[in-house]
Assembly symmetry: C2
């Protein structure tokens, strides 16, 4: 009997986040739900990541309402979300009670599987969220962010898996957000975790397709014992997205592995999204082929385009190569964090600053926080001299405790501030929306009654047709994390530097 390989479908979350800047409207997903629900997936990722932010920032959609709709439309499916540990879906650490309440509400509104990760792989930053998921009786998936450095080893990943199991995780995800996971390490890591934690521990593998090797990595992970892999329906796959679901099904034919996916359903889902894709042309990633330079540079493609635009703003587009050389240095000084939101932006921006103003002459507030331990701990030792500079510039002491331990209870304050906003409906869900995005939520609450804005456009309409509804399409491509502005003095002149997220 061949072993069944389970599949998580990414089309409703990470696929459109990676390929069309998270802009897909709920309205454009609804018609595909019945086929997705009946195709035989282990789970359907449909919430979390950047979708919450995108809903309220661009789509005038209530993310909680989206979740409840998915629950109704996918009655046979496990709903899955991506949760940034102690950051939840926002971009700072929240106090534990907020984490508990968020997880509770997500579970109550229909979420089944919580994939919980921390950008630094600091286990202390996922502990509370995992505890909350278990308490809610849901599936807690502990996540290892895969990266490559002189310090990252198979043994290290196994230790992290063991710690996640100790926290009560129901499964482990190896998350390769930058398509760095090659076939041999994929095999070695899955094999070693299975050996250390037992064959019965579920291992899920999440890879992106950017480098053109990760379909092979999925095969090798499966041969090593992986139980479930993440793919996206082919019409919204590849490039910075994921490997195609249909190809995975076909790849296994004749092997000792098989999926239980219904190919005729997959074909319908594919054809449906092939029709939707052109509506979001203006948000589509330019990258359609593969990029393998990242194996040497360690710099994700999205991060490079960000640094390029930062340099352009300062009339220094010609210094990109210097910045690209500086990134590995900064990453080393910061203790080799994986490069994923938010660490990729923090490291990339500091590299730009180093090249423009001299190495560590000016530190961004975020980079200082990273060096001082306010994001958590890193695998490598952080450079003591740079820590010292951060200490002086930021006037903060380095910490070694779990960052959230320094936070005071904040729920009551968040609740009263949230409820005071015009248009807030008084629910805890609204308070959580406000807690996550205090700058964006007020406007969203005030316009919510106008209903969702679909940014998709009829591709047959003329390019110069009516502007995108909602009026905020000007932010254009790229993920949707808040942009931060700095005023930077250079040779006596002040420069405005904005930092937007990359991955």
């Amino acid at each position: 009997m061949p072993k069944t390989i389970e599949v998580t479908e990414l089309i409703l979350r990470d696929a459109h986040q990676s390929l069309m800047a998270t802009r897909m409207a709920m309205e454009d997903m609804v018609p595909a739900c019945e086929d997705i629900d009946k195709a035989g997936y282990w789970s359907v990722e449909c919430w979390g990541g950047a979708t919450f932010d995108s809903c309220i920032r661009f789509l005038n959609e209530d993310p909680w309402d989206r979740l409840r709709k998915f629950r109704k439309l996918l009655p046979n499916s496990r709903l899955q979300m991506l949760l940034r540990g102690q950051n939840l879906l926002g971009y700072r650490h929240y106090e534990d009670e907020v984490v508990d309440r968020f997880v509770d509400k997500a579970a109550e509104n229909g979420m089944d599987v919580f994939r919980v990760f921390d950008a630094l792989n600091d286990i202390r930053n996922v502990r509370q969220a995992i505890k909350a998921v278990k308490k809610a009786g849901k599936h807690a998936q502990g996540t290892i962010c895969y990266t490559v450095s002189p310090l990252h080893t198979v043994t290290g990943y196994v230790e992290m898996a063991e710690q996640l199991v100790d926290l009560g995780c129901d499964s482990i995800c190896i998350k390769d957000m930058a398509a760095l996971l090659k076939p041999q390490p994929a095999y070695d890591i899955v094999k070693a975790i299975k050996e250390a934690c037992g064959e019965e521990l579920r291992i899920h593998v999440h890879v992106h397709a950017t480098t053109g090797v990760t379909m092979v990595s999925l095969m090798k992970a499966i041969e090593a014992g992986a139980d479930c892999v993440d793919t996206a329906i082919s019409s919204l796959s590849l490039g910075p997205g994921h490997n195609p679901t249909e190809s995975l099904v076909e790849m296994l034919e004749g092997t000792p592995y098989v999926t239980k996916l219904d190919k005729s359903r997959l074909l319908k889902v594919k054809e449906y999204f092939a029709g939707i894709r052109p509506r979001y042309k203006e948000y589509l990633s330019n990258i359609t082929g593969v990029e393998t330079e990242i194996f040497d540079s360690q710099i994700p493609g999205g991060m490079i385009s960000n640094m390029e635009s930062q340099l352009k703003q300062q009339g220094a587009a010609d210094r990109l190569k210097e910045v690209l050389c500086e990134v590995p240095r900064v990453r080393k000084d910061a203790g080799y964090p994986p490069l994923v939101t938010p660490s990729s932006q923090i490291v990339g921006t500091q590299a730009v600053f180093n090249v423009m103003m001299g190495r560590y002459k000016v530190l961004t507030g975020e980079f200082a926080d990273l060096m001082l331990g306010y994001y958590g701990t890193t695998l490598g030792q952080r450079d003591p001299e740079v820590i010292n500079l951060a200490h002086k510039q930021a006037r903060k002491n380095p910490i070694t405790c779990r960052p959230a331990d320094l936070l005071k209870p904040e729920w009551d304050q968040l609740r009263s501030s949230g409820l005071a906003l015009k248009g807030c409906n008084g629910s805890d869900e609204d308070v959580l929306t406000y807690a996550m995005f205090p700058q964006v939520a007020p406007k969203f609450f005030s316009t919510r009654q106008e209903g969702p804005k679909n940014l998709g456009k009829d591709p047959s309409a003329k390019p110069a047709a009516a502007p995108a509804p909602g009026g905020n399409a000007e932010t254009g491509k790229g993920p949707v994390m808040s942009t931060i502005s700095y005023d930077v003095k250079l040779n006596g002149k002040t420069h405005k530097v904005t930092v937007a997220p990359s991955a």
Copy 2:
């Protein structure tokens, strides 16, 4: 010590044939040659296939001159070509002396490795070409066209490999022109051929990327003992093209296999062709993602778009689904030929005729020839009733001999006709050009002195800029095989049906 996996680079032939309709001008390849030559490839495929036709039909380039230039520009590389057995680079069978002379001249002008195939896998159709290659002291690569049918088995492929070895082939190529080769059969076939023919027999694997599984197939073929694989530099890879060279290099890291390719050279080649690609935008394939339906339909993507346009011409675009259902039936009746030029066009067009006019009410001349054995033999038995119809309609008897055995010596006649053409330079090379393309060569000879026409366009130029030089760009996308027109009577009305090649 890891085993070295050799690589054949396809960028100068099949990559642009598959992705930009074979339109790349020699001028646009020259600057990359030094890096290609020094990157460490086993061979560089740069000639044959549709390039010969494209040179004289669209580019006003002498294909023999192109070959001599490659010989000079790639002094350290084995030059490789694709040769259609007894068809050479044309679309009919040639008498053996013409085959000998063509191979001799190709060798004399610089060709090293001849990949020889027959669309029907009829070994008798490659025998003479392989003999000629051996006589010229060059590398003869016997080719197995991979396809899937109830009759195609691993054992069958092994038998064909053994026959090719018996003919004196220096290596075997498994050629998967439709991206049908899945990982497990890739492993099984390579393994079985090595076991039957000896470990020392070189096996090369050629796959296209269309279905999204074949990078894994390459990995499995390598694990089974394959010695050399075909890839294309990433900036002109994927879609209906091939897997990216750089990804192959990275894929093997940490495995018991390694390439000896120079990554810094590959990066230069990549960047160079990334700049060239937009110049051929109007010829670029629309397909950038993957298509897995072919696994069920057995119909290559290019063949579908061809049948679509045939149906459209007759105002019957809505009958595509019927035609798609008819193709497997026609293929079965024809003895399960692989679907590759020219069998894909012959089967596809007959399927269109069957749907439009009733099953086998009208046979195309080519389909009748196929049924009667004039293209060679097929693995499956051809349907006796359809053979009978073909016999009646075409007024020809079925044959079982090697088709070329029926041909009379033709070189002297070809030579005198060729030399009589205005602009013919009197060389045997020119006579062979004429022999290959008697309709196109006369015009080419008469315009050759005007020099090559580069159909690439500055992508920053306005779309409505000057028309493509050469004035024959109107043939548009698609491969370059001759188009055949039929006048077909349907319900008393005459319809013009044109048949163009698909793959």
